[in-house]
Amino acid sequence: MDRPRILVVEDERVVAFLLTRTLEAAGYSVTPCADGLDALEIGLKEDFDLVLLDQRMPGLLGLEVLQRWNAAGRSFPVIMVSGITGESDVIQALELGAVDYIRKPFSIQEVIARVKVRLRRVDP
């Protein structure tokens, strides 16, 4: 079986690097992306088993990316990552189809654990 593909949308270079390194070590195939608009485009063209989506980003906000994917009929299991802890954001993200929501501060280990849980469920 192919390795599950994950799109990591994160604008801080080091966080993206650490997520990529750790996820790859855990056996996933990772596509990193640092900009909201780029993420939108990649998501329109390619399929992923999971998307880690940062809310605060240059280009487009995470929620906006999610909205536009929905409008284009693209849907992936998305885990939102955000520093904005307002409840309305969480609800909005979940309504747009996000499967999980990680609030900052979080650790790389927490992300990995949530990714694993999610992808286990997706596996038949």
């Binding site: 080091v14 650490l18 070590a25 501060p105």
Partner: protein
Amino acid sequence: MSVGSPMLDGAVRWINYLVLAYVILMEVQILVVAAASYLALRRDQFTKRHGRIRDLATSDTTPPISIIIPAYNEAAGIVESVRSTAMLHYPRLEIIVVNDGSNDLTVQRLVEAFDMVPIDFPFRPAIETQKIVRIYRSRMPLPVVLVDKENGGKSDAINAGVNVSQYPYFMATDADMIIESEALIHAARHFVEDRAHTVAVGGNVRPLNGSKVRSGSVSEVKLPRRPIEMVQVVEYIRSFLAARPGWSAMRSLLIVSGAFGIFQKLAVVEVGGFRNDHLGEDMEMTMRLHRHNLRNKRDYRIVYAPDAVAWTEVPSDWAVLRKQRIRWHRGFIQVIWQYRGMIFNPRYGRIGLVGWPSFIAFEFIAPIVEFLGWLIIPLSIALGYVNVEVAVPLAAVALLLGAVNSVVSLFLDDRFGYYDEAGQTIRLLLYSLAEHLGLRQRSTWWRVRSMFWNPSRKVWGDMQRTGVGNLAGSTDSAGTVPSEV
């Protein structure tokens, strides 16, 4: 021809011979240490071949390390250096930036880049420092802590970092240091192998000049262009490959470079932390650890890890280099003065009887002797005081041994494969020979000049005000690296 009495003639003649003999003795000592280095490096290579080093990177038993970066007015580069430190390959790290009362945007830059928030952080003030104003933590999944404190100098900043650190080992480094991705793993190996006894591990500092850097790491190692940089490459190679592995193997390593040294936190706290009134605080700490542990008859290790490599920009103009070297040598003189009680003191075993005296003989006294030599010998030959048939062969032997030593250290470096191309090897070779016709004399002169200064005088008010970054330009990060040791 002779001018004075026969007795004076004889005295002058013998001074000449003694000077030459001293230099020859020094070169022989360097050669012996280089041989010890060769054996140590070969043993190291053998251990590495079993490939267990990489396992350490993923092992839970690898000791966690706190990396302390003291920063004084480093707004321009601090974010990038935290980024590159965070990307090091090591299982458990925390990065503690200590802002030493900067008056630029050091704190703001970090807070913005890493989404840092003030936290109520409990810590143990094991070493007394200037007041800590606030502690921040990143809300990103990065183990980055920022300690904002009042200005107190580099050592004070490191001590504050030690107080705040959570892990049992720490490394104090400079913002402009580029650490190789696996360097910490190589260094930590020694703590893993002998956790009970290892109190400090020193790394291999190399000149960055000429190499290419991409997003915080060295992407291509190349030799620098300028002669002043080349001679320093040769010098660093000699110090870090021909000397330190040997001294380390003889358990007499007297310097763990401040820019790349990992210390057991308890050991440093036990001796009271880094001293603020010191120009060579890294060597001073190493000597203090030796003295403390030897006095208490403990079995301890201070080791050198040649594979733990970090790169630093070295001075590229003579004025800055001169300033740096004078500062190093003065730091060294301070250390000699402070630890004079250990010289030939059997209580301090191999360090007191061999390591420390030979260090002083060949690092402190040798420059004086050599300087006198450059003055006296040509003069004496010209005036006919000296039997040319004796003096010239002796001088030739001294120079030849010097050249042999330079070549030997290049040979020791070769196994690391940084400068593999034939052109690079030839340039290194030429410069290591040319070093004896230029830099060596200059640095001898600088060392002699540094001595006209009273080491017990307190002149460090200045240093504390200027803080970390400005001591001798930002190019000063390798710490004390006397040329032969």
